[in-house]
Amino acid sequence: MKYEIWRMAMENVANKSTLSNARDSFGEMVRVYGSLGAFARSNLTIVWIGLLLLVWFFNPIKALPFPGEVLHAFRRMWSADGSQGLLYNVYVTLKLNIVGLGYAAIISLAIAYLSVIPLFQPVNKMVQWLRYIPIVGFNLVFLTLFTIGWPMKVAMLTTGMSFFLVTSMTGVIASIPRMKYELAKVLGYNDWQVFYSVIVRPTLPTMIDMIAQNAAIGWVMITAIETYNRTEGGIGSQIYGYSSTNNLAEVYAYLLIIGVIAVLEDWLFILIKRLMFPYSLIAERA
């Protein structure tokens, strides 16, 4: 009887799509992470945030605005109109972040995966070398190629992030053990099947990790790029403006917002990874 139940369950799995497999495993993920472990982790995070706030309240560095000043800055920015408003500027930057990260992820995945074909390896190497060059150095090139404003900002962010993403992603592909390729070959896989089953499919969760890690570099670039393209506003443009007028409370308010968005983005990537690739959770625990 037990065997029949397992057999039926396995027949179902054999007929299911990857998406429904992911849904099944979401239950397992919730079970594991919804336990005391998560409670303990949350408490630890609260303790650390408390400690940081304590240091902030009693900090001896005069250049660092106190929490009350930053809170007032939030209120001022919230009630400001139009292009000076908090929501507007966060929206502009977040949109740039998402679009730039999306393009960079797609382009970098293509360049990294194509690196297994010898013809494309020099392109991959060149892109990796370019990560040493500051992206703002290409300002004029981007200005010539794209219209100033939104297209130029997206192009700059996409290009800048791709240099780093390609490097990390190529490293992931290079670390696939030779035995995995050979296993696929002895199982009779053709080159395309090897490419998909050994190179693409199993590395996708790690690629999501790479995108999440490089999203942080993206935030550093965004502020620089928005400083050079201030026509549409955005957090970078605001930080530049407030810094030059010595309104440090506003600057730190925006830095806090970047920190919160970045943490939420990180969580989102982890959630996407675990929903789409449930075995990655097992791999993390292993």
């Binding site: 065997y3 397992w6 057999r7 369950a9 396995m10 027949e11 799995v13 054999a14 497999n21 053990p177 035995m179 995995k180 050979e182 296993l183 696929a184 070959k185 002895v186 199982l187 009779g188 896989y189 099947q193 089953s197 499919r201 199993p202 690739f277 075995y279 097992i282 791999a283 292993a286």
Partner: protein, 291 residues
């Protein structure tokens, strides 16, 4: 599974007939260029022939110490590497002509039992089989039979990372068997196992091998006892010596032990036989130090 071609474990009433060659390794040499411009010779004139044994599967062991070229031999037999000279030939079945081996003709169960970690156990069996052209329905049915037969039903929905070492080994072997092929190389299947687990692996290999008379298992090992217990033929791999007693670069088959002729093959009580103890002692104390 083709029940018609299955065979029973245990000794045969009379000496089995050795039929035509199923796999033939002819004068294979393998050299690797070194960084200093020199050449490293891994294999030199390595030859062996595995013949079809009437009513029995073929289980042979390539026995040798570390560095004797066993893995190089494995890679060449499985067509994962090309030999510098010589060739490996294989048949497509009984009474078929020998032809050069191609990648995929010989299954390999690698040492650490790699599996597709992003596929559940059942999919690790079904998907590679379907990719190699087996109809999905047939592959599914076969996979379910295998899981049931080899006590893996409960692990069918697990991810490979959730399996124990023994379960992983079974899945890795079954994955190769799903391909409708009869030639399988097992790389160090007894490595790192305690005596109890070695016995269960020997029983497992015997059980799987006896599912078809054409099943041909080549076991790469340095474990003398296990090789003698499980095999019908044992090939000692090592380096020959020149007149001064210096080893000549490149390993080859130094000695072949026909355990069928010795009356040791297919014997569950093999370890109780005096000849087994003699042979083990001879290999361990006399042959191994010379390899």
């Amino acid at each position: 599974m083709d029940d018609q071609s299955g065979c029973l474990p245990g000794p045969l009433a009379e000496q089995p007939l050795m039929l035509e060659a199923l796999l033939c390794v002819e004068n294979v040499s393998k050299e690797f260029p070194m960084n200093d411009g020199e050449t490293f010779v891994a294999l030199r004139d390595f030859s062996l022939t595995i013949r079809d044994i009437e009513h029995k599967p073929q289980i042979v062991s390539l026995l040798g110490p570390s560095g004797a070229g066993k893995t190089t031999a494995l890679r060449i037999i499985a067509a994962l590497d090309r030999p510098t000279s010589g060739q490996v030939q294989i048949t497509d079945g009984a009474s078929q002509k020998l032809r050069p081996v191609r990648v995929g003709d010989v299954g390999v169960v690698f040492q650490r039992y790699p599996l597709f970690e992003d596929l559940k156990v059942i999919d690790n069996l079904i998907k590679p089989a379907v990719s190699s052209g087996i109809p999905a329905k047939e592959a599914k049915e076969k996979a379910l039979c295998f899981l049931d037969e080899f006590d893996l039903v409960r692990q069918g929905l697990s991810w490979p990372l959730q399996l124990s070492g023994g379960q992983r080994q079974r899945v890795a072997i079954l994955q190769q068997l799903m391909q409708n092929r009869h030639f399988i190389i097992l790389d160090e299947p007894f490595s790192g196992l305690d005596p109890v687990n070695i016995i269960s692996v020997i029983n497992l290999i015997n059980r799987i091998a006896h599912q078809h008379t054409l099943n041909t298992f080549i076991i790469i090992t340095h474990d003398v006892t296990s090789a003698l217990v499980i095999s019908d033929h044992v090939y000692l791999l090592g380096r020959k010596r020149d007149e001064k007693g210096e080893p000549i670069p490149g390993s080859s088959v130094m000695k072949e032990y026909d355990l069928i002729a010795e009356g040791l093959a297919y014997r569950p009580d093999i370890e109780d036989l005096p000849r087994f103890a003699e042979l083990r002692k001879e290999i361990r104390l006399t042959e191994f130090p010379r390899l």
